[in-house]
Symmetry: C2
């Protein structure tokens, strides 16, 4: 792979609800030392876009920025650069992020969803390397994902494809944070696990989590599960089973080479992964399952920035 573009650099940005990270793309799956800035989310979109532009200038370190790829935490249309919504960024509904950033940075800008760029990163340098058909599922506060099909990042007609957390889990299940009835995210996300723990404790169920009630988040449930608490273990088992059934369904629908599962809740490791693996066969056909590896993701929190810089190279190299 060649060094940064002659006469300038391509930059990737991972925009999160609390932090902006920017770095120069140095090759497929590699990037320079990242620049970090706080996301001034509460100050509105103009302030956030200004902070992104400043981070891009700092990352470019005096070189001309020839093009910019940015991952944004919400559904959006990559074709138009318009963000449909970004739950953690107030005021971003319907924002023309691509155009506004291009004006600020004076270069072409491509935008994509952060989870889809993380999927692209895992495909470029992580658990999906060398595959033709790849599914990435990320499980943290919510459940998201991305697809690489026939060797291309697949985003579908509205640009939003790969919303893997919002598939049916149970017709009687709880609503997820987005209001969907009985979908996967309502059972298998960090938010769902914490809510179900609080509800069980409130209902009088015996658990060491009764003491942690004030700060009862998914991390506390994980700690309790590892210490042998029955309620906490049951909640992780149910979440893992729901994830495994959903992944089994994706194996039938898409027959991928690899499904990689990442995200903060996978810090829980076997706690989630063992029931996930065990449930695959409830739904998946033998043949596509035999041709598919279901594995942990490899890049951790770096996936977003690796994805953005790699995407800049793929989509913007010709501007160099």
């Amino acid at each position: 792979m060649s060094p940064p573009e002659a006469g300038g650099v391509l930059v990737g940005v991972d925009l999160g609800g609390t932090q902006i990270r920017a770095a120069v793309a140095t090759g497929p799956g590699t990037h320079g030392e990242p620049v970090r800035r706080r996301t001034p989310a509460a100050d509105g979109p103009q302030a956030v876009l200004d902070a992104v532009a400043a981070a891009v200038r700092q990352a470019a370190a005096g070189a001309q920025c020839l093009g910019l790829a940015i991952g944004i935490p919400g559904p959006l249309d990559p074709a138009t650069g318009v963000v449909y919504d970004a739950p953690h960024l107030p005021g971003w509904r319907g924002l023309e992020a691509g155009r506004l950033l291009s004006e600020r940075c004076g270069c072409p800008v491509v935008v994509n969803n952060d989870a889809k760029l993380a999927a692209f990163a895992e495909w470029t340098r992580g658990a999906g390397r060398g595959t033709r058909n790849f599914v990435f599922v990320t499980v943290s506060t919510g459940v998201g994902g991305g697809l690489v099909l026939d060797g291309e990042l697949y985003t579908g007609t509205a640009g939003t494809a790969g919303e893997l957390g919002h598939v049916p889990a149970s017709p009687d299940g709880p609503r997820c944070g987005q209001g969907h009835v009985g979908c996967l995210e309502g059972v298998a996300s960090g938010t769902a696990i914490a809510e179900r723990a609080r509800a069980a404790v409130d209902a009088g169920e015996r658990s060491t989590l009764r003491d942690a009630k004030g700060e009862l988040d998914a991390r506390a449930v994980e700690t309790a599960a590892l210490a042998g608490d029955d309620l906490a273990n049951r909640l992780f088992a149910e979440a893992g089973r729901a994830l495994g059934r959903a992944v089994g369904g994706l194996v039938n629908v898409l027959s991928p080479d690899v499904v990689a599962v990442g995200g903060g809740l996978l810090g829980a490791g076997d706690l989630l992964f063992t029931p996930l693996r065990d449930a695959l066969g409830e739904i998946a056909f033998a043949e596509p399952l035999a041709r598919c590896r279901v594995v942990p993701a490899q890049l951790g929190t770096d996936a977003g920035l690796v994805g953005a810089t790699s995407w800049a190279l793929v989509r913007l190299r010709s501007v160099g």
Copy 2:
């Protein structure tokens, strides 16, 4: 589109459990007068393949058959021509159908799953015409389907992608005919509706279906529902809701332009389609749903043969 290949013809075959249909491809989505033969399924694969070869000769009507595409009712690998299994064709597990037919017919043979070729047909000439991303769901004895993504029939790594009936519906749901726990086909297929009706009648539920008990199939439940029977209407409503939730999940995962729903159970029309449509919003995000039309399929039982002849043109034209 040009006429049949100079010096010979391309033939498409729709192989069903009871009938073989063969026709000459005359253009994308069009074919000559079909030849029909009984499928001698019980006599084993060699007899069935002989009957297919005879139907092909008859359809070619003296012209040389330059290539043959066949749709087979079971999971298979289009890349190798090997059938993993075909539930309605005894002895076909692991059968090298492509090679065996090629030997019999003396020409190149491409094989694919019948539901995937029906999807290709609906995309070529039916409800998916002109789209880039298209999902076809067929609901009859079982639930199957096929995908056209980024303008190509998508079959995935094992060749089996598009098994849309085997996605999670409920963790407590019944097993489907393939043994999967709580998948869509266990609730929303003709087989499932008939089984659930029998179980309810056996459990003493009041219904006009008590009288039809001997021949209680999905058609009888449909007739009872149209005549106002509560049990029958509830079963169709539950099946339609499960289908709508599953389609809503596919809208989130794939963001298609169109989802077409066909198959024998759609003869029931609004009985299934109204609850299906109503349930989409339980799961689907607003943006991809606004960009997607969910409509009845258009080609009916001709889809398999239209798909096979169209597929012959796409995959075998170069041999002409």
